[in-house]
């Protein structure tokens, strides 16, 4: 394990009643941005919660920034260097954006009011909310609320950043801003982004992990993921029933994923194509 490995998990398992949410996951995270792709129910949120120290694992080993979250002092050390944006923040909407981030800053041990307020203003302007920071959160749009969630995670410049669907509900301009933000603040930081947005993964992530039914199905670069679909993506003017998936593109042609018949117009696959192929293949093999 080299010095830039921030997260090591082996055999990570979590069960909820009869459901096996995580089935013996092995993974390592290093500095840089890693994407976590997977359909709903794949276990992404469960994995993120365990890494964020808000959920205890049932079995396996986890070391976050060198400490074990099972142990009280380890948990404290990890939380001091962690930023977490859950999918449902669950904060009381009667807070103002400033008050909420300030409250979280107190929870993050920033006792001195002056420097804490400076830090709160810093993170709120990083996400572009300085104009509305004294408005109640319930008066803010969905995208702005999500940005409040992102702002609090950036308090104290953490070493480990965990995002659960950070760009859900953001418009394209805000998603671009999020990418810029990540580029600026992710230096020296280990970032894990759980998302459905394959284009965010392609644009932002040095690595991508595909999770399905609680197991890791792919772990590598976005380019390598895309290449798994080489020769399996084609365009034609009409829908071909033999394809696993097909949809009409903006240009009016039909994009297909699956086993191509002879003589079709093969195209270079995207991360999205490969992801759909991978999840579809596994779904098929389970149905068989």
């Amino acid at each position: 394990m080299n010095s830039s490995t921030s997260v090591v998990a082996t055999g990570l398992t979590k069960r909820f009643g009869a459901t096996l949410a995580l089935d013996g996951i092995d993974l390592e995270l290093h500095r840089g941005v890693t994407g976590l792709l997977g359909p709903n129910g794949a276990g992404k949120t469960t994995l993120l919660r365990i890494l964020a120290t808000v959920l205890a694992r049932d079995a396996g080993e986890v070391r976050l920034l060198g400490a074990d979250p099972r142990d009280g002092s380890g948990r404290l050390e990890i939380r001091r260097r962690l930023g977490y944006v859950p999918q449902e923040p669950g904060f009381h909407a009667s807070f103002s954006a400033f008050d909420f981030v300030d409250y979280v800053a107190i929870l993050k041990e920033m006792a001195d009011r002056r420097s804490r307020h400076e830090e709160v203003r810093r993170v709120l302007s990083l996400v572009g909310l300085e104009a509305v920071m004294h408005k109640r959160i319930r008066q803010l749009s969905g995208g702005m609320r999500r940005r409040v969630g992102i702002a609090q995670a950036l308090l104290g410049s953490p070493e480990l950043l965990l995002f659960d669907e950070p760009t859900a509900g953001l418009d394209p301009e805000q998603r671009l801003r999020f990418r810029e933000l990540l580029g600026a603040s992710a230096d020296g930081c280990t970032t894990l982004i759980s998302t459905h947005q394959t284009d965010d993964v392609a644009a932002l992530c040095q690595r991508v992990i595909v999770l399905l039914d609680g197991s890791v199905r792919f772990d590598g670069t976005p380019r390598a993921l895309a290449e798994t679909a080489t020769g399996r993506v084609w365009l034609s003017s009409e829908r071909d029933p033999s394809a696993r998936l097909a949809w009409i593109t903006a240009e009016g042609r039909v994009r297909h994923i699956g086993e191509p018949p002879a003589g079709v117009d093969l195209v270079e696959p995207t991360v999205e194509d490969a992801y759909l192929l991978l999840t579809g293949a596994i779904a098929d093999s389970q149905a068989a």
Binding site: L55, P89, L107
Partner: protein, 276 residues
């Protein structure tokens, strides 16, 4: 009308803070109206000083509104940040405390009407129980799931909230108990059941959902009292219940001690899942 402008050297001295108050006043009154002099002074103003003043203003403006509970806690000796965290539980808000006081008041009135303290002794243990449940109920952490991933969130914080809730409820109940008709030692018989119920709720937090568990414990207390009344037979009322007599109090005291021990042994309160 002649236009008076402050001479440049005076402006410089003003910028350095080296003029008397009267001159400063007249310069400031002038600066508010004269853009040319403002521009002239801008060059000699100490940028660090201006920055510091601006930060101070922004800080005052950004100051979150503090609730009364928070101010009281701060006055009592809690450090400002801690006061904010602890006061953030709904069971320490003025509205909640007022509601508890109202209920206690009504029960005491009813007891005075009936010349019996039975109703007070039966209902009193439920009030701290409700408050402690509110302090522990995961949905009431204002920062939600975000809060549970922070360093200061944990057993210490939630327990401190629960302790304060217990203290405030007990204080209100004590005042109420003093107003009961015919004050006697038995009027303190609500203390041990209150402790037993509250500590058991805390001891089970995370293992069982808090609010339903508190409701179940409260229900069990009332049902237990009713069963005891039936067992004692007709002619003996609630006031003579063994729960409020020495035997009952010893049993309840042991239960409270056991629950307290179970609480102290736990170390994983901060891993309780929000919404659990």
């Amino acid at each position: 009308m002649t236009t008076w402008h402050a001479p440049p050297e005076t402006l410089q001295r003003y910028a350095a803070g080296a003029v008397d108050d009267i001159t400063a006043c007249s310069i400031e009154a002038h600066l508010e109206r004269c853009a040319a002099c403002r521009a002239a002074i801008a060059a000699s103003a100490d940028p660090l000083l201006v920055e510091a003043i601006w930060e101070g203003v922004a800080d005052r403006v950004d100051q979150p509104r503090t609730h009364l509970t928070e101010r009281i806690l701060h006055w009592v000796g809690f450090e400002a940040g801690t006061a904010r965290l602890v006061a953030a539980t709904p069971a320490l808000r003025l509205a909640w405390l007022a509601a508890v006081a109202l209920v206690v008041g009504l029960v005491v009135l009813a007891c005075q009407e009936t010349r019996s303290d039975a109703m007070f002794l039966s209902i009193a243990p439920l009030l701290p129980l409700a408050g402690v449940a509110a302090a522990f109920a995961p949905g009431t952490e204002p920062a939600g799931e975000i809060g549970s991933a922070t360093p200061l969130f944990g057993f210490g914080l939630v327990l401190r909230r629960a302790e304060l809730v217990l203290a405030t409820s007990f204080a209100i109940l004590l005042v109420g108990a003093l107003a009961l008709p015919g004050l006697q030692a038995r009027d303190a018989a609500w203390v041990l059941p209150a402790l037993a119920l509250s500590c058991t709720t805390v001891a089970l937090a995370g293992r069982a959902p808090v609010v339903p568990m508190a409701a179940a414990l409260g229900g069990a207390w009332l049902i237990g009292l009713s069963v005891l009344m039936l067992v004692d037979g007709p002619g003996s009322g609630l006031a003579e219940s063994v729960a409020f007599a020495a035997t009952g109090q010893i049993v309840l005291g042991l239960a409270a001690a056991a629950a307290l021990g179970a609480v102290l042994v736990r170390s994983d309160f901060d891993l309780i899942e929000p919404g659990a």
